[in-house]
């Protein structure tokens, strides 16, 4: 297993949550302990693969060495999307993708400092909550008209804006960043229109770019992500792919879907491993996601793309627990469940099995 990061493979989801807030350690983040790899004869190599030679069935590393393969798994993930504005390289401006990113942020995140977060997606909002817990002043700048615009209904966006404002975060939507300015470090952000916002540190969370260059250079089919079928096979039967870097042709949605979700990455990885071992284990699980902010546990079952009706259980303008169901032609597509684990488990089951749902039953509050 070749990877370019120095630490053992680790869980990324806690980086913007418990780990940033100082509630967990790097040891706790490790997916497996070092002994696990030894015991199962898995060799970990810190390095960078620069080329896949499909004809020779080998990969080339940046130090010039080669490794032959019978089967190859591309689990290259993604990298933080960069913001191309002037001043972006000033000290005090961070992305949040790796353990090293968070270590840098933590070193700068002294109580009382003002952090500006560019991007009101899940990473940005989780980071805002964690930095508030550390005692920083926080401003979130979102370019769209509402936070989480790409992934949730307006009602859910409004809920999270309210929650963050109640926690003392300044949330500004429709805010386009034009430039960063400073001297030996970042001092302010300049918005389109000229307004300047003072900042002690800036965290940019504006999405992810899948690492597909290696696959594309090797001539594999890439459409946003590396295209895989239900068995995680790429366009070369000896090469599988899984995770953020992969676009899966999903029968459930009749299209290619590239998911940025740990559960989906795990599901695809299990299939990819089975395929390399000559077994058939099609990718089947319903995509799901979660996000922790403050005391709120959001669990999302399914993808809501194409919904034509919303059913709310609970009142997102007032409560701290509710579920937002997304329907398409009367069928349940997805559910955003805030502090409603039971609704989540039920929705996941109903969506996976295509069960009929009763709107009145969905509405009935089911929080305990």
């Amino acid at each position: 297993m070749v990877g370019d990061e120095p630490a053992l493979p680790y869980q990324r989801p806690p980086l913007s949550k418990a780990y940033l807030a100082g509630k967990s350690s790097l040891e706790e983040l490790a997916i497996r302990k070092a002994e696990f790899y030894d015991k199962h004869d898995i060799r970990l190599v810190q390095g960078t693969v620069t080329q896949i030679d499909r004809a020779a069935q080998q990969v080339v590393l940046s130090d010039g060495t080669t490794m032959a393969y019978a089967g190859l798994a591309l689990c290259t993930g993604g990298r933080a999307r960069s913001l191309s504005v002037s001043g972006i390289d000033l000290p005090g401006i961070f992305y949040l993708r790796t353990f090293a990113d968070v270590a840098s942020i933590r070193a700068w995140a002294a109580p009382g400092r003002h952090a500006v977060i560019v991007g009101g997606g899940y990473i940005g909002l989780e980071t805002a909550a964690s930095l508030r817990a550390l005692g920083l002043e926080v401003t979130v700048l979102e370019a769209a008209e509402r936070v989480l615009e790409r992934v949730t209904a307006p009602e859910v966006s409004a809920f999270y804006e309210r929650v963050h404002r109640d926690a003392g975060v300044v949330v500004r939507t429709g805010a386009l960043v034009d430039a960063m300015a400073g001297d030996d470090r970042v001092r302010e952000l300049v918005l389109a229109g000229g307004e300047r916002i003072l900042a002690d540190l800036v965290i940019v969370g504006v999405g992810l770019v899948p690492n597909t260059e290696l696959a594309a250079d090797a001539g594999l089919l890439v459409e946003d992500g590396i295209v895989i079928d239900d068995l995680a096979c790429t366009s070369d039967p000896r090469i599988v792919a899984a995770g953020d870097c992969a676009s899966h042709r999903m029968a459930r949605y009749s299209r290619l879907v590239r998911l940025e979700s740990v559960p989906s990455a795990g599901e695809q990885a299990k299939t990819a491993a089975a395929t390399l071992c000559g077994k058939e284990r099609p990718i089947a699980a319903l995509p799901w996601f979660w996000s922790d902010q403050y005391d709120l546990k959001l669990q999302i079952a399914g993808l809501n793309t194409g919904y034509d009706e919303l059913v709310l259980s609970g009142d997102p303008t007032d409560d701290r627990d509710f579920t937002c169901y997304y329907l398409q032609q009367g069928r349940l597509l997805a559910a955003d469940c805030v502090n409603r684990p039971r609704d989540f488990m039920e929705a996941r089951k109903a969506i996976s099995r295509g069960l009929d749902v009763d709107r009145a039953q969905l509405k009935a509050a089911r929080a305990s």
Partner: protein, 106 residues
């Protein structure tokens, strides 16, 4: 060294060394115990580390908390001694612990 025994739905037993302070889910995953997935990495978000604590151990390890309750509420294999293994921190008194696994993880 102290051990925990996982008994699969088919009755197959798997022993694993206990490690104080680790979660029972991590121990299962580190030892590749089939039937414990732990997809979310231990955040009580996925419900795929469901175990049923052996009757004589319930008093020692304790019952499920509110989030576990909710996660397990709809589970058809749920029993009174059901827990999510990720929420179980191993204590030094657990030597000989026995847990059963459901037929399916959700």
């Amino acid at each position: 060294m102290s051990d925990v025994t996982f008994i699969s739905h088919d009755g197959e037993k798997r022993e694993a060394p206990l490690e104080e302070g680790a979660s029972l889910m991590q121990i299962a995953v580190d030892n590749m115990v089939p039937g414990v997935d732990g997809d979310c990495g231990g955040e009580a978000a996925c419900g795929t580390c469901h175990v049923i604590v052996d009757d004589q151990w319930v008093a020692e390890v304790g019952r499920s908390g509110p989030v576990e309750e909710e996660m397990l509420a709809m589970n058809p294999e749920r029993e009174p001694a059901s827990r999510l293994a990720c929420q179980m921190r191993v204590s030094e008194n657990w030597d000989g612990l026995v847990v059963r696994l459901p037929e399916f993880q959700m």
